[in-house]
């Protein structure tokens, strides 16, 4: 178990929402990083409002993943070669004022190897169709991670809505 768990930075989205959240100048002094997210988008589930995208060092390339997911009625798995965080945000047609709960764990973020990372995400919805996902990810790049950016997957004018939050923690000697 980690013997330190240090808050590096956090942010709460203000009125009007934001098209992206970026953590820049991430210090290289920790072993692992943990992102704790509570996000909601202004896009419906049909428009993939439950899927944010993640970038490392401004790059959305060289990502791949395998996901195990469950909904109110089915379970399935799939592979992807995009930088998605499955069920990383609540869509706009889920219960008002609810937010997804997501943790992204990024071990050895300064190493010179490719970066594997994991996601554990659940959406919140006062209905049968709430969703959960476990996702194993790989970013096939050897550069140390110095910035992390989150955006709604759909792009365009989509935003993370007010009161969405993102917390970045550093783990030492994990």
């Amino acid at each position: 178990m980690a013997n330190t768990y240090t808050l590096i930075s956090s942010v709460t989205v203000g009125s009007g929402g934001t098209t992206s959240i970026a953590f820049s100048s991430i210090p290289a002094t920790y072993t692992d990083l943990v992102l704790v997210l509570s996000l909601r988008q202004d896009q419906t589930a049909a428009n993939d409002g439950q899927i944010p995208a993640i970038q490392f060092n401004g790059s959305s390339s060289n990502f791949s993943s395998r996901t195990l997911r469950g909904t109110g009625s089915a379970a399935s798995s799939f592979s992807a070669i995009t930088n998605i965080l499955t069920y990383g945000s609540d869509p706009s047609d889920f219960t008002s004022n609810t937010f997804a709960n997501t943790q992204v764990y990024i071990p050895n973020y300064t190493s010179s190897n490719n970066k594997s990372f994991s996601l554990d995400g659940v959406t919140e919805n006062n209905a049968t169709n709430a969703q959960a996902a476990l996702q194993a990810n790989l970013w096939s790049q050897t550069a140390a991670i110095t910035s992390i950016t989150l955006t709604p997957f759909i792009g365009g004018a989509a935003v993370f809505v007010q009161y969405s939050t993102a917390y970045l923690y550093g783990i030492s000697n994990a």
């Binding site: 930075s9 942010v11 934001t18 953590f23 820049s24 100048s25 997957f153 792009g155 365009g156 993102a166």
Partner: protein, 71 residues
């Protein structure tokens, strides 16, 4: 005006910055690519449904009967 939030982890400062024209164009391209991909997925789903329906008709069985055959 669309904005982005930047948290500088070295100072702890958060700034809200308006997107540049280049960033707006990039996001619009993302949205266009997304719409194209979504339309292709929908078209594939519709084509699969039509093909499935035609096959069931050819075989002279219902969807429920097909499910029983495969169970």
């Amino acid at each position: 005006m669309a904005t982005k939030l930047i948290v500088d982890c070295s100072t702890g400062e958060t700034t809200e910055v308006e997107l540049t024209a280049e960033e707006v164009a990039e996001r619009e391209a993302m949205a266009e690519e997304y719409a194209t991909q979504k339309a292709a997925e929908e078209a594939q789903k519709a084509a699969d449904a039509t093909a499935k329906s035609a096959l069931l008709k050819k075989l002279g069985i219902t969807q429920e009967e097909a499910r029983l055959l495969l169970s």
